[in-house]
Amino acid sequence: MISARNVSVRLDSRAILDDVSLDVAPGEVLALVGPNGAGKSTLLSVLSGDRKPDSGTVTIDGRDLGGIRHAELARLRAVLTQENTVSFPFRVSEVVAMGRSPWSRSLESRDDVAVVNNALAVTDVAHLGERRFTTLSGGEKARVSLARVLAQHTPVVFLDEPTAALDLRHQEDVMRVARSIAADGRAVVVVLHDLSLAGAYSDRLALIAHGTLDAIGTPSEVLTAERVERVYGLAVDLHDVGGHPVVVPRR
C-alpha cells in the first residue's frame, strides 16, 4: 500500500534519515520505535507526504506521493500530529466534524453524522461534544484530535505518539482503536515510545536508530534484550506476557 524506497532526509548536511526502505501493508499496525532524535517523526512525515525526501521515493498504491493533490491525499491518509491546538473556541463536535471535510461533495458525505458519532464514541469523548475545544485538558484534547483523525476514515492512518498525554486506560483504548482500524483492512503507522505497548499491539515493529532502519519484523523478532540494550544504551530484561514481549529496564 505505502512503499518507501531508499529514503534519505538531510538537514544542514546532517543525515536525519539514511537510506530507509519499508512497506506498509493493508490490515496491519506498524509501530515505529526508537530513541529520541532517531528520526521516527521525520520518517512518519515522509511516509505521510508532509515532507519530500531528499532522495528516494515514497509511493501509495504505486503512485508517487509528491504527485497527488492535497485534496486527494486527504482521502488516502489521515495524520494525528503531536501538536493539537485550535486557534478559535470551536466545539468538540465541530472539530471532529472537520475530519469529514475531505469527503464533502462526495457520496461518502451522507455517512458524516454516523462516522462522527462513532469516532466520538470509540475515543470516549462523546460526552464532551458541546464543550469548547480550548477548555479541554491535555488528554481530552489528544482524544478529540484522534476522533477527528478517525472521522477522516482513510485507508492509511498515521499516529505520531498518540498515547503521550494519556492515562493508562486511554492508552490501551487508543491502541485497541488502532487494532480495529487494521481489522477493517486499513493500515496504521504509529510512533510509540513504550516498547511494551508497541509489542502488545503492533503486527510489525520498525526500530529506528541514528536515522537508519535497525530492524523490522514481528515484535518478538525485533525486541531482543541485546538489540534494545545496544540501541537505547540501557540494560533491559525481556519478559513474555501472554505471547507479547514486555521490556523492563534493569534497575
Binding site: E72, N84, S87, S93, S104
Partner: protein, 352 residues
C-alpha cells in the same frame, strides 16, 4: 443532542440577525434625520420610496431637503456601511490566516501601509487620474504591508502575539515616517488630504466613491465566504489543515490579497479607521461561535452597523462639528484591544 444544538444555533443566529437589522435600520434613519437641516423620518421614508418609483404623500416637496438627503447624507451612510463591512471582513480573514484573534488591519500596520500608498499617489500626482488610481496605490501599499507582517511574524505555522504586535509597531512606525515625510514635501492642498487619511472621516463621500468601495467589498466578501471552510480547518494549525486537503500556500496568498483589497479600498476613500476589524469579529464570535461562514457574513453586517452608528456619533457629539470617525473608533477600540490582550495573556500564562 445534535438536533437540540442546531435549534439553539438557529435561535442565536436569528436573534443576532434581528438585532443587527434593527440597529442598522435605526442607525440609517437616525443618520438621515439628524443634521443641520432637520428632516423628518417620514420624509426620509417617502424619499426612499419615491426613488423606487412609488409615489407617496410623505416624500419631501422641498428640493433642498431632497438634495441634502441624496447628495450629502445617503452617500455618507452608504459609505459607512460598505467601509464597515470591508474592514470587519478584512479583520475576520486576517485573524483566520494568522490563527490569532488579535490580528487586525489597523493594529498590524496594513491600514497605514495603504494610507502611505494613497499619500504617495497624491504627492506624485497620479491622483489626478481619478479615484481608482488612489485606490490602486492604497491596495499596493496595503498588500506590501500585509506580506511583510505575515512573513516576518509567523513561526511554525502560527503567529505569536508579541511578534505580531512588534511587527505592527515597526510597520506603523515606518508608514508613519513615510506619511510625515510626504506631509513635509507636499503642497498645502495635498497636505490637507494626507491629514484627512491619518484620522479617517466619512465627510464628503460621493456616490462614485461608494460604488468603487461597494464593488470591491462585494468581491472580497464573496471570496471570503467561499474560503470559509478552509479557514475553519486552518484553526487546527497549518499542518493539520494540509492533512485535511487544504492547499495552505494558495489559501494564504489569496487571503492576503483579499485583506489588502478590502483594507486598501476602505483606506483610499475614508482614511484609517482602526479597530473595526478587531471589535466586530470578536463580538460576532461571542454571539454565534467561531465557524467562519456565518462569522464572516455576520461581521460584514456588524461592521456596517458599527460604522453607521459611530459616524452618527462622530457628527452629533460636538454640536455643529464633525469629529474624525477614526478618532472615535480608536477611542473605543484601544481599551477593548487592551482588554483582549490582557485576557489572552492571562489564559496562556504569558505573552505567548
Amino acid at each position: 443532542m445534535v438536533a437540540a444544538r442546531s435549534v439553539n444555533t438557529t435561535l442565536r443566529g436569528l436573534t443576532l440577525t434581528l438585532t443587527l437589522a434593527a440597529l442598522l435600520l435605526g442607525g440609517i434613519v437616525a443618520s438621515a434625520v439628524l443634521g443641520q437641516l432637520p428632516v423628518s423620518a417620514a420624509e426620509v421614508g417617502g424619499s426612499l420610496l419615491r426613488s423606487l418609483g412609488i409615489q407617496n404623500a410623505w416624500a419631501p416637496t422641498d428640493s433642498i431637503v431632497e438634495s441634502t438627503l441624496w447628495v450629502v447624507r445617503f452617500p455618507r451612510i452608504a459609505m459607512a456601511m460598505v467601509v464597515g463591512a470591508a474592514l470587519a471582513v478584512a479583520g475576520a480573514v486576517m485573524q483566520a490566516i494568522f490563527g490569532n484573534p488579535l490580528a487586525e488591519p489597523g493594529v498590524v500596520g496594513v491600514s497605514s501601509g495603504a494610507a502611505l500608498g494613497a499619500a504617495i499617489a497624491i504627492v506624485v500626482g497620479v491622483a489626478a487620474l481619478g479615484d481608482s488610481a488612489i485606490a490602486l496605490f492604497a491596495f499596493v501599499g496595503g498588500l506590501l504591508a500585509t506580506l511583510l507582517v505575515y512573513f516576518v511574524s509567523r513561526a511554525n505555522g502560527r503567529t505569536e502575539v508579541v511578534t505580531l504586535l512588534l511587527t505592527g509597531i515597526a510597520v506603523n512606525a515606518f508608514a508613519g515616517a513615510g506619511l510625515a515625510f510626504l506631509l513635509f514635501v507636499a503642497d498645502s492642498g495635498s497636505r490637507e488630504q494626507i491629514v484627512f487619511w491619518q484620522l479617517g472621516s466619512l465627510n464628503g463621500s460621493r456616490w462614485s466613491e461608494v460604488l468603487i468601495v461597494a464593488l470591491v467589498t462585494a468581491i472580497g466578501l464573496v471570496a471570503a465566504v467561499v474560503l470559509a471552510r478552509p479557514f475553519d480547518l486552518l484553526a487546527l494549525g497549518e499542518r493539520n489543515a494540509r492533512h485535511l486537503g487544504v492547499n495552505v500556500e494558495r489559501l494564504r496568498i489569496v487571503s492576503i490579497v483579499i485583506v489588502a483589497l478590502l483594507t486598501g479600498v476602505a483606506v483610499a476613500f475614508v482614511g484609517i479607521i482602526a479597530f473595526v476589524g478587531l471589535v466586530v469579529p470578536h463580538a460576532m464570535r461571542m454571539a454565534i461561535g467561531p465557524a467562519h461562514r456565518p462569522l464572516i457574513v455576520a461581521s460584514a453586517v456588524g461592521g456596517a452597523v458599527l460604522l453607521v452608528l459611530s459616524d452618527l456619533l462622530a457628527r452629533s457629539v460636538v454640536p455643529g462639528g464633525d469629529l474624525p470617525i477614526g478618532l472615535l473608533t480608536s477611542l473605543v477600540g484601544g481599551p477593548f484591544f487592551f482588554y483582549l490582550l490582557f485576557r489572552q495573556r492571562r489564559q496562556s500564562g504569558g505573552w505567548a
